[in-house]
Symmetry: C2
Subunit: 596 residues, 2 copies
C-alpha cells in the first residue's frame, strides 16, 4: 500500500523560490499568511494527512459506504477523521472571518487540499463539496443565509453538496425537471430527483446543506430559467437543527472507484428550500461553485499522480528483476532493482514531470484566485479573472488526463502486483478515473476553452496568457543553459496563436470545426502551458545551483525539465496535426453506418 509523504520540499520550492508566495501575500495585505504561519500550516497539514487520512484510504476502498433505508454510513474511521479536521479549524482555513473563518488566502487552502486528496481522495470529497457550497453561499447568499449556513459550514458542524445532475441530464442543465413552487412564507417547495450527489448523505455532520438547481413555475426555458436554492436536510433552529426536511437519500451508487465517497440519489418531495441569489440566475451562482470545483478536480489528477509516484518509486527501488542492459548494478543481489531499467525510469520520469509540472500550474492558478479576490485595483482583479477563466478548463482537463496517465504508469511499474488490490496502486487508477468525467467532462472543458473562452473572446483571453509566456521567453532567450528550450517554448507559443486563428477562421464557416478540434486543442494548450512552468522551475533551479545550493534537488529539476521537453512535449505535434485535419472525417459518417 503506498504510504503518503507530503512532498514538502517540492511545495516549498514553488512557494518560496518559484512563485514567491511571501511577497505575493504581502502585496495583497494577507498579513496573517506570514512565512512562519505558512510553514506551520504545511507541517501540521502534512502530519494530519499522513497520519490520519492516508491510513484510511485502502480500508475505505474495501469497506465502501453502507446504505440502509435512507441512512448512509461512511467507512470506519471517516467520521472521526472529519471531527478532527473540523476541530483543527481546517474547514475554515481560507473562510471569511465574518463567519468564523481564519481568513487565510484561498491559495493556502488549495495547497492543504492537495495534501488531503493525495492522502485519501474519497475522504476529501466531503470537505471538498462543503468548500464549494461555502463559496457559493459566500458569493451569493444574503447576510442571514450566511449567518445561518456559512458559519456552521465553516465550523465543520454542517457539510454541503451541489445538486445539479438529474437522471436525464448532466451536461445539459437547461432541461432539468426539478421544480420550485413559491410558498406563502417566502420559501419554496422543491420537488425532483437529483443523482450523482457526492456527500449527499452520510454520518459525518449534524446537517447537510444542499444547493439545488430547480425551475420556478414561470421560468424561461433553458439555462436562463434555472434558480439556485438552499435545501437543508434539517431545517435550522436556534443554534442547531429542527425538523427534518422532505429530503431523502434513495440509494447510493456502486462505482468503479472513490468507493468511500457516498454518491447519492437525493429525492426532494416538496422540501423546503430558500432561494439564493436572483431568480433564474442560478446557473451563474452555481458556476461560482463549479469553477472552484473544477480546479479542485484538476488537482485530483496531481494528487493521485503524486500518490502513485511515491508508491511506484519505492517499489522500483526495492523490486529486483533482471540485470541492467549495461551490466549488473547490484552484483551482490539476485538481480538489479528495476529502477535501473530505462523503461521503468521513463514511466517514473513521466509521472514526475506531470506531477511537478501540474503542481506548478496549480499553485500559479491558486495565486490568481488570491489576486482575483483580494487585489486592490479592479484592473488587477480583472486580469487575474481573465487568466483564471482561460486556465480553469486546462487545469481541470489536462491535469486529470495526465494524472490518470500517471496513475496508470505507477500501476504498470508494479507489473502483475499492480493489478492486485492490496498493493493500492490500482485503486489510484480507479479513484482517478472519475476526474476526467465529473464537474463537466473533459470534452466539455475543451469546448469551454476553445469555444467560449478563446474564440468567444476573439482570442483576448488567450493573448493574456501567451503574452505572459512571450515576456518570459524574451527575458530568458539568452539563458546560458536553457536558451534552446526557451526558443522551443517561444516557437510553440507563436504556433498556439496561429493554430487558434486558423481554427477560428474555419469555425466561422462551420461551427463543428470547434468541436472536432477542441480536445486536441486543449491537450496541446496543456503541454505548452506545462512547458512554460517547467522552464520557470528550471530557471530558478539553475540560479540555485549557481549559488552552490544543491543536494541533488535542483539538478533533478533540470533533468526532469529536459525529459519533459525531449520526451513529452513532442506530443504537441500529434495534437497539432490532428486538430489541423479539420472536421470532415469526424462528421462525415452517417449515424446508421457506425455499425453493421
Amino acid at each position: 500500500m503506498p504510504e503518503y509523504k507530503a512532498p514538502l520540499r517540492d511545495m516549498r520550492f514553488l512557494i518560496d523560490d518559484v512563485f514567491a508566495f511571501p511577497a505575493h501575500y504581502a502585496s495583497l495585505g494577507a498579513d496573517d499568511a506570514s512565512p512562519d504561519m505558512v510553514a506551520a500550516i504545511l507541517e501540521e497539514g502534512a502530519k494530519f494527512c499522513e497520519q490520519v487520512l492516508a491510513p484510511l484510504n485502502r480500508s475505505g476502498d474495501e469497506e465502501g459506504c453502507h446504505f440502509d433505508n435512507g441512512v448512509v454510513t461512511t467507512p470506519k474511521g471517516f467520521k472521526e477523521a472529519f471531527a478532527q479536521y473540523a476541530e483543527g479549524g481546517w474547514m475554515g482555513l481560507a473562510a471569511d472571518p465574518l463567519h468564523g473563518g481564519q481568513g487565510l488566502p484561498e491559495s493556502l487552502g488549495l495547497i492543504v487540499a492537495e495534501m488531503v486528496a493525495s492522502a485519501n481522495q474519497s475522504w476529501a470529497m466531503y470537505p471538498g463539496l462543503t468548500h464549494g457550497a461555502m463559496s457559493a453561499i459566500h458569493a451569493h447568499g444574503s447576510e442571514e443565509q450566511k449567518q445561518t449556513y456559512l458559519t456552521r459550514l465553516t465550523e465543520g458542524r454542517w457539510t454541503g453538496t451541489m445538486c445539479l445532475t438529474e437522471p436525464h441530464c448532466g451536461t445539459d442543465l437547461g432541461i432539468i425537471k426539478t421544480r420550485a413552487v413559491p410558498q406563502a412564507d417566502g420559501s419554496h417547495a422543491i420537488s425532483g430527483t437529483k443523482i450523482f450527489i457526492s456527500a449527499g448523505e452520510h454520518d459525518m455532520s449534524e446537517n447537510i446543506v444542499h444547493l439545488v438547481l430547480a425551475k420556478l413555475p414561470d421560468a424561461p426555458a433553458g439555462t436562463r430559467g434555472i434558480s439556485l436554492f438552499i435545501v437543508p436536510k434539517f431545517l435550522p433552529q436556534g443554534d442547531g437543527v429542527g425538523a427534518r426536511n422532505a429530503v431523502s437519500c434513495g440509494s447510493i451508487e456502486h462505482k468503479m472507484g472513490i468507493k468511500a465517497s457516498a454518491t447519492c440519489v437525493i429525492n426532494f418531495d416538496a422540501a423546503t428550500g430558500y432561494l439564493i441569489g436572483e431568480a433564474n440566475k442560478g446557473l451563474a451562482c452555481m458556476f461560482t461553485m463549479m469553477n472552484h470545483a473544477r480546479l479542485g478536480t484538476g488537482m485530483q489528477g496531481l494528487c493521485l499522480g503524486e500518490a502513485s509516484y511515491q508508491g511506484a518509486l519505492r517499489y522500483a527501488r526495492e523490486r529486483l528483476q533482471m540485470r541492467a542492459l549495461t551490466g549488473p548494478k547490484a552484483p551482490d543481489k539476485a538481480a538489479d532493482p528495476i529502477i535501473v531499467h530505462p523503461d521503468v525510469r521513463r514511466m517514473l520520469l513521466t509521472m514526475k514531470a506531470f506531477n511537478e509540472g501540474n503542481r506548478a500550474l496549480a499553485y500559479f492558478t491558486a495565486q490568481l484566485i488570491d489576486v482575483a479576490h483580494r487585489a486592490e485595483t479592479a484592473e488587477a482583479r480583472q486580469e487575474a479573472e481573465d487568466l483564471l477563466a482561460l486556465l480553469t478548463p486546462i487545469c481541470k482537463a489536462f491535469m486529470t488526463e495526465t494524472g490518470l496517465e500517471a496513475t496508470n504508469h505507477g500501476m504498470q511499474v508494479f507489473g502483475g502486483h499492480g493489478y492486485i488490490r492490496e498493493w493500492g496502486m490500482e485503486q489510484l487508477v480507479r479513484d482517478c478515473r472519475i476526474a476526467p468525467i465529473y464537474e463537466g467532462t473533459n470534452g466539455i472543458q475543451a469546448l469551454d476553452l476553445l469555444g467560449r473562452k478563446v474564440l468567444g473572446s476573439q482570442g483576448k483571453l488567450l493573448r493574456g496568457f501567451t503574452r505572459v509566456l512571450h515576456k518570459f521567453c524574451e527575458a530568458q532567450q539568452e539563458h546560458p543553459q536553457l536558451a534552446p528550450q526557451v526558443a522551443q517554448l517561444a516557437a510553440l507559443n507563436r504556433q498556439w496563436g496561429e493554430l487558434t486563428q486558423s481554427i477560428g477562421m474555419a469555425a466561422m464557416k462551420n461551427p463543428d470545426e470547434v468541436g472536432a478540434a477542441s480536445v486536441d486543442y486543449l491537450m496541446y494548450s496543456g503541454y505548452v502551458t506545462l512547458a512554460y512552468f517547467w522552464l520557470r522551475m528550471a530557471v530558478v533551479a539553475q540560479e540555485k545551483l549557481a549559488q552552490g545550493d544543491d543536494d541533488g534537488f535542483h539538478q533533478a529539476k533540470l533533468v526532469t525539465c529536459a525529459f519533459y521537453f525531449q520526451r513529452i512535449l513532442p506530443r504537441t505535434e500529434a495534437h497539432r496535426l490532428a486538430m489541423s485535419a479539420g472536421s470532415a472525417s469526424t462528421m462525415q459518417l452517417v449515424e446508421e453506418h457506425f455499425a453493421f
Copy 2:
C-alpha cells in the same frame, strides 16, 4: 449493460474480401475449412457467445470467485457454460485429430476466441489457458503424454494452466526457486510456490493440468537451467483420475478486474511431476505457450474495445443532451442524441479505427500461424515464422494499449454513468487493464521487438515486413482515391527503417538507447502497421463501392480510414521525436534524487 453482438459483417469482410481466407485455406490443404463450414462455425460461435457467455459477464464481475479452504468456486453459470462449450466441441476446434480435435486451422480458433473474449473476458481465461497448455503438450509432449493429457484437454474434461511466476519473480524467470527432484520411477517431486496462476483452481473440470517451470538439482544458473513439468491436480488413472497430487491452492487474488477469473497461489509440496520436452530447455517449451498467449492477450484489447464500442455507440444514439453546434438535429426531442457532437464522434471513431484495424492485424497474424504450421515448404513456413516473430510483440502491446484506450473512450462517452458499475462500461476498462501487464508487460514486449527481434536480427525481421508494405505501396501508388494515403504510408515505412538504423547505431555505443527508445518504437511500429491494414481495407472497400456494392458498410470503411490517417496516425510524430531524443534525460537522474 452492453449487450454483445458478434460483428459478423466486419469479420466476413476480412475473411472473404480482404484476406481471402477460402483461398488461404485451400492453399494449405485445409479442406475441412470450407466456406460453408466457416460460415456455420461463425454463426454458431456467435450464438453461443451472445446468448450464453455475454449474460454472465456482469454477474460474474459482481459475484467473483469464491475461495474456501483450498476450494475455488466460479460464479453462477460459469461451470454450466463451460460444459456447454466442451460439449459443443469448441475446445477441440483447432486441435489435432489424432487426439480428438477437429483439426480446423488455428486461425479459425482465434476468430472464435475473439467472440468468446468479447462476450466474457473472465470466462475466456479458462479455455484460453487450456488452449495454451494444449499447444505446449502438442509441440513438446511424448506420445504417451499426448494420449494421457492432450486428449482430455481437447475434450474439455480437463483444463490447463501455465505456472511461471513466483512471488519474487515474474519477468526474470532465471531466478525461479521451484525445484524438481528426480524420483526412482522417472517422475519428479516438484516443490515451490507459484503465483498469479489463472484458472489454477476452479470447479469447471474433473482435473487441472499444470505446466510448471522448475529447476533440476544440477541445473545451470539462469534461464538455461529451467525445465518444464506436467503436474496434474489428480494423477491420471485409467480413463479418469486417481489420487490427489500434492498440489493445492493457497488463496486467490483480489484484483482490479477479470474478477470471475480465478488467479491463484498454487503450492507444490513434493508434487508428482513429469518432465515435458528436454531437461533445461523448459523456457523454450513454455514460449510455445507464451507466443500463443501473447496473441491471445493482444486480442483482449480488440475484444474489450469492441464490447465497449457497442455499448458506447448504443448510448450515444439514445442519450439526449445539448443541441448540435450546427443547430438542432432532433427538434422534436428535448435535446439531440449525443452522437451529433463532434467530440463524441471523435471518441467513437477512435474506438472504431482501433478495433477494426486491430482485427485486421489479428486476422493477418492468424493466417501466418496457419502458414507457419501447415505450409508445404520449409521456406514458406520460415517466412511466416519470421513475420510472426516480429508481429507478436506488436500484437500483444499495441493492441492492448489501444484497446485500453478504446475502453476508456467508451466509458467516457457515458459521462457519469460510465463510472457506475451497473452500466458495465467501467468493467471493460478494469478487465482490459491487465492486458498491458500480463504475458510479459508491454515494456518487455517493446524490448523483445526492438532489442531481440529487430536489432537482434540485424534488421532482417523488420525488413521482411517493411518489404510487404513497400510492395503494397508500389502497387497502389497511383490509386485514384487513395494515392495520398499510400504516399503517406510509404514515407512512414521508409522512416521506420531509418529510425531503426539510427537507434541501432546509437545502441552499439550504449545499450540503454534500446531500452529508452523501445516503447515509443513499439507504438510507432503499431501505428504504421495499422495504417497498412487500414489501407488494405480501404482498397477493397473502394473496389466494392466501384462494383456498386454498398449499404454504407464500405463507405464507413473509407471514412474511418480517413479518420485514422488524419487524426490518429499523426501520433507517430510524437513517438518519433521522443525516441530520437536519446537516452540521456532518461538515464541521467541518480536513483536517490527521484524524490526528496
